[in-house]
Amino acid sequence: MVRLLLPNPGLEARIPTLAELESLEKQESSSRPKWDNKAQYMLTCVGFCVGLGNVWRFPYLCQSHGGGAFMIPFLILLVLEGIPLLHLEFAIGQRLRKGSVGVWSSIHPALKGVGIASMFVSFMVGLYYNTIIAWVMWYFFNSFQDPLPWSQCPLNANQTGYVEECARSSSVDYYWYRETLNVSTSIDDSGSVQWWILLCLTCAWSVLYVCTIRGIETTGKAVYVTSTLPYVVLTIFLIRGLTLKGASSGIIFLFTPNVTELANPVTWLDAGAQVFYSFSLAFGGLISFSSYNSVHNNCEMDSVIVSVINGFTSVYAATVVYSIIGFRATERFDDCFSANILTLINGFDLPEGNVTQENFAEMQQWCNASNPAAYAELKFQTCDMNTFLSEGVEGTGLAFIVFTEAITRMPAAPLWSVLFFVMLFCLGLSSMFGNMEGVVVPLQDLNVIPKKWPKELLTGLICLGTYLLALVFTLNSGQYWLSLLDRYAGSIPLLTVAFFEMFSVVYVYGIDRFNRDIEFMIGHKPSIFWQVTWRVVSPLLMLTIFLFFLVISVNEELVYSVWNPAYEEFPKSQKVKYPNWVYGVVVVVAGVPCLAIPGFAIYKLIRNRFRRAGDQQGLVGAQSTVSVNGDVRS
């Protein structure tokens, strides 16, 4: 066992001792927020962890990396990486009873940068995440009509046909790219603010403000709805989905194991990254939430429960999503086939009903034989189920294009649309609570805010500031900015912070001290599993994933997908290189949080050096003679 421990003088002075913890809890009970009951805490943590990624990232990864076989790396890494990190964050927060900046600066003043990095990342992720919620709200507002606005293309000027852009792509594509985003053709072309998205963004930030206005006092009530409603809706969709034609083909496609994928390192990498991001680790929110717990709360059991729920939700959501995708693919396949049949019977004036899906191939040959010249003029589409099953099924494409199209084909479409977007809204909002916590509490800990200011004011200012910055995403090029931030702000910095977290707790705070703390808090020492994973396995895994990501990110060409009606292969997205100034943005977005960690350490070092040289004096030694009347002769 590695017993390395870095020197850490003064640690005892900075943290409350175990004996003080219980009395501290009693003292703080009036001033510091705390959970009304255990259920609130669990629902908040589950809500923070379970987010949009469980619905639109995991199913795609699962299906593209070998279906059922992907469960193996996913579950292994869940146990080796997710649960230990989660337990670590819960335990350290509960022990030191502070937010992320407070915790890291208590462990060592030079580590304050870790907390600041967490705050930056929470801020940047919150910036674009709420914009996605705004888009979800736009679709939600538009779901209260029949027929749904994305089920038909708008007509062109003389009403003889559909708008060209819509006719060439599809009504759902057109609705997303043109009527919602009104997207430009490059990130350079900013355009103007789209007022309807601005309204939805305002609404999204207002709702977030109302829910987080007093910290966990208000979010604790909101999570009763936002954390439970997604499960209800998922179940309803599962029942609906399984009764639709073709659902089983989707589920089979999802879970068909392809064991050869296990030999591909990218599968393990993606599984590790998915476990990591899906647990919302290193944002600082979980540490904060856990610090409001009572001292003897069983954080070990909590971490296991939350991890299991998160894993289960991923698999459950994947099943639901793919049952609906199977339905859509089957419908599209049938449509494609019917179009081919129609082409054949129209070309040869055969009676309807003579050609079916079963005898189509024979009839084709018969027609070819009877009149090759006429047959050669007919154009048939290729209808392949696998293509339909694998198109565009991750990210915003899944939610706003594929799923919305599937919904238009269901009976009572507006109802399903409303339910689906309410679910996405709740999933996103509960994750935003954690992000806000990860920004508000560090700002309070950093003492940049005057203590007199009420929490409502602070939360309001943060919401307002982030809202104004998020106006960038309402421009015509907003979606490109969002993808950029999503790719770089939420990936490398988080991995860095998580690695430093583990390293700090195990080697700077001291794993022995940590073990004793946990023994005090929950009654028994952490078992050998935790020891091994905290000291060796999890940091190694983090480091491996981080290095791989770094290598891949640095080597890959910075290209992005663009919606360009003038592209030859339209409606496929065109891959365009980013302009040069984007490299600067990427460096800022990904580099500033990472550099905050060593940067702050260096800053602290320099400040200490200067202090020792200059103004700080040691206490003056004085001889005091006892004098009953109080004369002190110095």
């Binding site: 709200m137 736009w138 939600f140 507002f141 538009n142 209260f144 009509q145 027929p147 038909q152 708008p154 007509l155 009403q159 003889t160 046909g161 559909y162 309807w196 309204l199 939805c200 305002t202 609404c203 207002s206 709702v207 403000y209 109302v210 206005i213 007093r214 208000t218 019977i345 129209n346 004036d349 055969l350 009676p351 309807e352 009903g353 009420p454 409502e456 009953v628 009347n629 109080g630 004369d631």
Partner: protein
Amino acid sequence: MSPSRKILWAPNPSFLEAGKSTIKVLADGRFSVWHRKGVTMSWMGPREDAENAFKVRLSLRTALGDKAYAWDTNEEYLFKAMVAFSMRRVPNREGTEISHVLLCNVTQRVSFWFVVTDPSRNHTLPAVEVQSAIRMNRNRINNAFFLNDQTLEFLRIPATLAPPTDPSVPIWIIIFGVIFCIVIVATMLLILSGIRQHRRKNKGPSEMEDTEDKWENTVKIENGIPCDPLDMKGGHVNDAFVTEDERLTPL
């Protein structure tokens, strides 16, 4: 298709008008005619006549499924009647009769060609007129056959698509307004209750502070001994110790 047209071989021109022949229009403008008894005739007609013919395609099984009716000569008669009706609504063509509408080459698909001739039966009516007439009355024609624009196709006659219903106020703004108002009201309530709580908290401790201040202003007392006297005495006498005289009761 008047008998005066140059015909290579026609046993009896009246056959053409009696409707017992089927006429096929070829792309280069030639007409070929099959007589029921197997006689074939062909002649060169002017190109315009070929361009003035339209192909119609019906998809009865797709539209009606089991309730699909069979396409027979009665249905053809109805079709001719609908076309004649459409033409009669065109300003100059009120005299169009059913016999002016000629159908040919009915296939099993069901598809056929039709052409509308003028009263003299010398010329066919221009395509533009027929197109506009059919377009204006498309709905009536569709309804007569229980079909729609997709299942009753007139090739080369584009249908006017029904515009989607556009309510005066888009529904989404209404929903947005409702939700936003609820959120604003909730925010106001929470902020106001927060301010009230804050005031109550401030009043509580500040009242306690006032009484403490009053107390301290009178005399600074420490350990039961007034502080001031200690200073004035300059440290010579320590009032902390009670003098013997005072403590012991006098004898």
